[in-house]
Symmetry: C2
Subunit: 483 residues, 2 copies
C-alpha cells in the first residue's frame, strides 16, 4: 500500500543505521523535538507520558521504602560548590551560570543545579541535630542542567529531568545498606517495568561520582551493542557532611558527622526504552510504561460508521474503564493499513482490529506489536484476553532483551581477543583487571571501552589475570563501549 511505503521510507532502518534511526524515530514518533536552544529538547506529550508512567511506578517504590519527597532550589551559589573542590572540579565544566537578576549584576554567580548535594547538605546541617532525626530519607523530582558539548535527545541533553535521593544516616553500615538497597530497587524497577535487563555493580574510582566514596550503577546493553548507564547509587561516606558540617549527637551524646548517600535516574531511561526494544518498523514499548497501551482501529469499509464504529467506541469505553491507556483511531482521512503501520511505528503494544465481519460474529482481532501475532477473540472475553496478552508482551520484551544481553556478553582472556570482540561485535566483555588505573586508561584509549561495572555477584575465585597487563587480576570487570 502506497501510504505504508511512504511512511517506511521516511525513517532510516534500525538495522542499517542505528544512530540515524534513533534520532529520526524519536522525532517521527513525536516523543521529543529539538528546541531552538542548542542541546535542549522538548519532551512532547507521548514522550512525557512515558516519563509520567516512570515517575508513578518509581515514586511508589521510593515511598514504599520509607522515603518522602521535597523540593530544593534550582540555584546554588558558587561558594557552595567551591566548598568541595573535588565536587566542583567534577562539575565546573558543565555548569550554566546565572550572573544577572533583572537589571542587576549579582554579587555572586549562581550555578543552575547540576546536582543537589551542596544545597541539600547545607539544609541538612540546619535540620539534623540528634540521632533521633536520623535517618533522613528525602527524594526530589527536578530538572537538571549540564552544559554538554555533544548532545543526543534523552541520552545527553543540556537540561534533563530526574529524581535524586539524598539520605543521611548514623553509621557507615546504614549508608551502605541504603546505597545497595536503592541499587536493587532500581534494578527491579527497570527490569519489571521497562523490561530492560541490567547488570548491577560498582564503578571504578576513575568512573565514580565526584565526591562519592563508592558509586554503584546498573548498566544495560542497547541493541547496537553499546552500554548505557541506567541509574547510579552513591555511598558518599562523610565527605559532604564534613564539608557542610552536618553533625548529630549520637546515642552516647557524642557529636558525629552523618553518613550520606545519593542516587538518581533520569529521562535517559526513555532513550533506553527506544534503543532496547525498537525494531525496523519503529518503537516497541513495554505495556507498563507505554503512552498508549492499546489502539483500536475500526476497519473502514462499507457503512463502517454505522455498524463498526459504535462497537469500537463501546470496546474503547470498556477497556478504559478497566484502567488501560487506550486510543481509538477513527480518523477518516487514513486507511486502516496506514494506521496499522503508524501505530506500529509509535510502539503501541497491542492493536485491536474490528471489521464488519468481526462485528457480526461478536469478535475482534488482537495483534501483538512485539511478535505481530494475530488472534481472533470473542468480545465477551476481551478484557481478560487483553490483560493476559499485555502481560505476555511485557514478559516477551524482557526475554528478548535478556537473550540479546546474554548473547552479547563475552568472557575474554587476552587483549587481542578483547580488541577483536570490541571492534567486530561490541557488547559486554567480562575479564580480569589488575585494578590499576593505567590499564583502564590504556584500554579506553585503544578500544574506546570503559569499565562499566565490577559486577556485584561474581565469584571471587574466578578472576583471571588482567586482560591488559597480564598481572594477577584483582577484579572481574565488565567492559563495553558506552553512551
Amino acid at each position: 500500500m502506497a501510504e505504508d511505503e511512504r511512511l517506511v521510507k521516511k525513517i532510516a532502518a534500525k538495522s542499517e543505521d542505528f544512530s540515524r534511526w534513533y534520532l529520526e524515530i524519536i522525532r517521527r514518533a513525536e516523543l521529543a523535538d529539538y528546541a531552538p536552544m542548542k542541546g535542549m529538547m522538548v519532551i512532547r506529550p507521548d514522550g512525557y507520558s512515558i516519563w509520567e508512567n516512570i515517575q508513578r511506578l518509581l515514586d511508589g517504590r521510593i515511598k514504599d521504602s520509607g522515603h518522602v519527597n521535597a523540593y530544593f532550589p534550582l540555584f546554588i551559589p558558587e561558594s557552595f560548590l567551591r566548598k568541595e573542590m573535588e565536587h566542583l572540579k567534577g562539575f565546573a565544566p558543565e555548569v550554566a551560570w546565572v550572573t544577572h537578576g533583572g537589571q542587576e549584576e549579582l554579587e555572586e554567580r549562581l550555578a543552575v543545579r547540576p546536582t543537589s548535594e551542596a544545597v541539600i547538605g547545607s539544609m541538612y546541617a540546619k535540620w539534623i541535630h540528634s540521632y533521633r532525626d536520623l535517618p533522613v530519607l528525602i527524594n526530589q523530582w527536578a530538572n537538571i542542567v549540564r552544559w554538554e558539548k555533544v548532545t543526543r535527545p534523552f541520552l545527553r541533553t543540556t537540561e534533563f529531568l530526574w529524581q535524586e535521593g539524598h539520605t543521611a544516616h548514623e553509621t557507615f553500615d546504614q549508608a551502605q545498606d541504603e546505597t545497595i538497597k536503592i541499587l536493587y530497587l532500581y534494578k527491579e524497577f527497570v527490569e519489571s517495568e521497562l523490561a530492560i535487563p541490567v547488570v548491577e555493580g560498582r564503578k571504578t574510582p576513575r568512573e565514580k561520582f565526584a565526591g562519592a566514596m563508592e558509586t554503584y550503577a546498573i548498566e544495560a546493553l542497547m541493541s547496537d551493542g553499546k552500554a548505557l548507564q541506567m541509574g547510579t547509587s552513591h555511598n558518599l561516606g562523610q565527605h559532604f557532611s564534613k564539608v557542610f558540617d552536618i553533625r548529630f549527637e549520637d546515642r552516647e551524646q557524642k557529636r558525629q558527622y552523618v553518613w550520606q548517600t545519593s542516587w538518581g535516574v533520569s529521562t535517559r531511561l526513555i532513550g533506553a526504552l527506544v534503543m532496547t526494544h525498537g525494531d525496523d518498523s519503529g518503537l516497541r514499548f513495554p505495556p507498563q510504561v507505554a503512552p498508549v497501551q492499546i489502539v483500536i482501529v475500526p476497519i473502514s469499509i462499507g457503512n463502517w460508521k454505522e455498524n463498526v464504529l459504535p462497537v469500537a467506541v463501546s470496546v474503547e469505553k470498556d477497556l478504559r474503564r478497566a484502567g488501560w491507556r487506550v486510543r481509538l483511531d477513527a480518523r477518516e482521512e487514513f486507511t486502516p493499513g496506514w494506521k496499522f503501520s503508524e501505530w506500529e511505528m509509535r510502539g503501541v503494544p497491542l492493536r485491536i482490529e474490528i471489521g464488519p465481519r468481526d462485528v457480526k460474529e461478536n469478535r475482534a482481532v488482537l495483534v501483538r506489536r512485539d511478535v505481530r501475532k494475530k488472534d481472533s477473540v470473542d468480545l465477551g472475553e476481551l478484557i481478560s484476553r487483553v490483560k493476559g496478552t499485555l502481560r505476555e508482551i511485557q514478559a516477551s520484551l524482557f526475554d528478548q532483551a535478556l537473550r540479546f544481553q546474554r548473547e552479547n556478553t563475552r568472557t575474554v582472556s587476552d587483549y587481542d581477543e578483547f580488541k577483536e570482540v570490541i571492534e567486530s561485535k561490541r557488547g559486554f566483555i567480562s575479564c580480569g583487571w589488575c585494578g590499576d588505573e593505567s590499564c583502564e586508561a590504556r584500554i579506553k584509549e585503544e578500544t574506546m571501552a570503559t569499565v562499566r561495572v565490577i559486577p556485584l555477584k561474581r565469584d571471587r575465585e574466578d578472576i583471571g589475570p588482567c586482560v591488559c597487563c597480564r598481572k594477577p587480576g584483582r577484579e572481574s570487570a565488565l567492559f563495553a563501549r558506552a553512551y
Copy 2:
C-alpha cells in the same frame, strides 16, 4: 501542661500578628525553610506533600478535560522574549539571566523561564499545520524563576513551582470557551479540594498578563482581609501566534493565525491554605490535601506498650489500607499532651486517641482539629466514622471561609466609605467604577487597594456611579488590598 505552653510561646498568635505568625508557622510546622540564597525557599516534605496532593487532584481534572502534559526547556533565548516587546517589558525586570556555560561566555543570554509563552509558541509554529492539528491542549508542570525584590514563602519567591497550560484553537470563540472553562475548573478545584471560596472574574487592562487580550482570575480573601490571586486564565488572542508565526490551513484552505490561551496555578496555593484556614493553635488543613489526614496518639500510661500500642498499630494498618494518609505517633520522649498540641499546630484534620480504657471498651476517641469536638467511637465502626468525619471537616472549613468572605465583602457607594472600610476592615469592596485607568491608579495610590476582578456573574443593571470620580459606572468592580 508545661510543654504546651513552651510550644505556644514559640509562635506569634495569628490573631495578634498575622504576618509574623505566617512566617513562623510555616517554619515551625516544617512546610518550608529559607534557602541560603536570597528569596529562595526549600519546600520540606510536609509542604511538598501538599503540592503532590494538589498536583494529583488538579492534574486529574486537567487530563479529564482533554489536556496532555509535556515539558519545554528551562532556558529561553533573549531574542525570543524580544520578539514580543509587551511581553518582554512585562518580565524583563524579573528575569534571571544565564550568561556562561561551563568556561565559555554565551553569544546570547538565556532567560531562566519566567513563563513559557515564547518558547512554546516557537514550537507550536513547527507542529501546527492544519485545522486537523487543532486544538492543541498542552499543560506543563515546571519550575519558574522571577527575580522578586520582596519575597515571602509560597506567596512570592524567586523560584516557584506551577502548572502552565498553553492551548491553540481555530477560532476566537473556542479560545474564549477554553479560557472560561479553565477558570471554572480552577474555581471548582480550589473550592472542593482546598476548601477556599473564590470570586471569579476579569482583570482590568492594567492588571492583565503582559501579552494577553483578556486575563481572568480567581481571587480569595485571606483571614487578614487581604486578597490573594489564586489562579489566572488568559485569552491570548492572536498576539503570540502573529509574533511566532503560528499558522494553520483552515477548513476553507486559508492560512490563519491560531487563537491561544494560557493558564496557571502555583505553589502559592499552599500559602493560601495556611492563611485561610489557620488559627491561633496553628494550621488547619482540609483533609483532601492534608499531608497527614489522621494522627493516632496512644495514651502512654501504665504498660501502654503492651496493651494500647498493638491496638494503635492495628488501627493504623486498617486506616492506611482504607487509603488514608495516617501517622502513628508512638514516640516515647513526648507526652500525649505535647503530641496533641504538636499535631494541632501541624494542622492534621483528625486525631485518634486510644488509651487503656478505650482498649478495654473496644473504642477510640476522635478529635476534630477544626472545631475540637471529641467523639468516642466503637472500633467496629471506626472506618465509616472516620470517613464521615473527614468529609464534615472538609465541608466545615469551606463554610467557615465562605462565611468570612461574605462578612468581609462590602458594597460601598462613595469614596469616603471606601477609604474608611479599606482602612478599618479591609476585605473585598464591591462598587461602581467608570473603567478609567486614572481612577484605578488614584485609588491604588491613596488606599493601596486594586481591582481584583470584575466579577463575571453580576447583574449589569446594578452598576452604581464610579466610587472615585462619580461618573456613570461602567463596571461593577471588586477592590481589595492584595498580596
